[in-house]
């Protein structure tokens, strides 16, 4: 029924808008969404899944690295840099910001600070993961009902 799809689409637009308003996602995510088309209908899901896999791996590496007797801050910084890069590519703004703060602690060679930062990054990661899973589920529902995903052209 068209009414059903329309409702789902409006729900999606509103949910997505709320994520932007809360600073969880930024414009980069719109670009990601815009790259999806009929020839590659799972593009967003694929990229987001890659992000989830990479992030979990990096968070584990970070925990391990910070647990060493002599912390190798270069290594820690390299991991954070990677996480910052991938989160910025998909528009996970809060994760990206947490990584920026994390890098400062690495520069200061402050273990306590780094551990706090790791906590923060981990928290932001699980938040965006949760939200993205809900968002993508909504999108799948729309597609399954025969509708198309509304593209956001501009975020104020």
């Amino acid at each position: 029924m068209d009414g059903g799809v329309g409702l789902l689409q409006r729900q999606l637009v509103d949910y997505r808008a709320s994520l932007f308003n809360e600073g969880i996602l930024n414009e980069q995510f719109n670009q990601l969404q815009s790259l999806q088309d009929e020839s590659n209908p799972d593009f967003v899901v694929e990229v987001v899944s890659l992000f989830f896999e990479d992030s979990v791996r990096l968070l584990n590496e970070l925990a391990k690295s910070l647990d060493q007797r002599n912390v190798d801050f270069k290594k820690v910084d390299a991991h954070v840099h990677q996480l910052k890069g991938s989160s910025s590519s998909i528009g996970a703004q809060r994760v990206q910001n947490a990584c920026i703060a994390f890098r400062s602690c690495c520069e200061e060679k402050n273990v306590e600070g780094c551990l706090k930062c790791l906590q923060q990054v981990t928290k932001e990661y699980y938040l965006v993961k949760n939200k993205l899973e809900i968002l993508l589920k909504l999108e799948q529902q729309i597609l399954a009902a025969g509708g198309s995903i509304p593209v956001q052209s501009e975020v104020i």
């Binding site: 308003n21 980069q28 694929e46 890659l50 990479d54 840099h81 890069g85 593209v151 052209s153």
Partner: protein, 190 residues
């Protein structure tokens, strides 16, 4: 009025409400016909698909993309493909250099992440220049999240032709590709 215009264009226009139920902004869905066109287009940040339609300059362009981050690589590759480029993706400096075999595709542009795990991007750029004679040099565009003075200096010294800031945005890559290709074309004419 907007609604009439949009409907004439066979599009849709609707109001997006914020969580409190107040109209927050208008959303627009318009479709444009594909018209091949060359030349410089001043694009305003706006409809994504409109930007794509103006760039037949990139059709079939062979680009070598070197980025060790899976997410970045997937996104950038897709961006380039949407522009019409033929993309070869690699995730290390050595793979990047190996991609320049005589039997391989003729890469016209290399999009090079400066933070590769094995060789740093500058080293890769220097080695690429050694692989080929000047007349068949590809253009190299560095990708970096850090556009500081020192980075600029090294970029100039290693013969890299352009820079894009990460995270990569469509308009950013379009502009830099266009600029670098124009430079390349001018050099061959001379």
């Amino acid at each position: 009025m907007c609604q009439k215009l949009v409907q004439l264009m066979q599009g849709k226009i609707w109001v997006v409400q914020n969580p409190r139920g107040f109209p927050q902004r208008m959303a627009l869905d318009l479709r444009f016909q594909l018209h091949p066109s060359l030349g410089i287009v001043i694009s305003e940040p706006g409809d994504f698909s409109e930007q794509l339609h103006h760039n037949s300059l990139f059709n079939g362009l062979h680009v070598l993309l070197a980025d060790d981050d899976d997410v970045n690589r997937a996104v950038t590759q897709k961006l380039l493909q949407k522009l019409g480029c033929t993309v070869t993706s690699v995730s290390s400096g050595f793979e990047c250099l190996s991609a320049f075999s005589p039997s391989g595709p003729p890469h016209k542009v290399v999009l090079l992440d400066l933070h590769l795990p094995d060789l740093d991007g500058f080293e890769v750029a220097i080695r690429i220049r050694r692989l080929r004679s000047r007349s068949s040099w590809p253009s190299i565009i560095a990708m970096t999240s850090n556009a500081s003075e020192d980075v600029w200096e090294r970029i100039k010294q290693t013969g890299i032709n352009g820079v894009v800031q990460k995270p990569i945005l469509l308009q950013g890559i379009i502009n830099e590709l266009r600029r670098v290709l124009l430079l390349q074309a001018n050099k061959t004419v001379l």
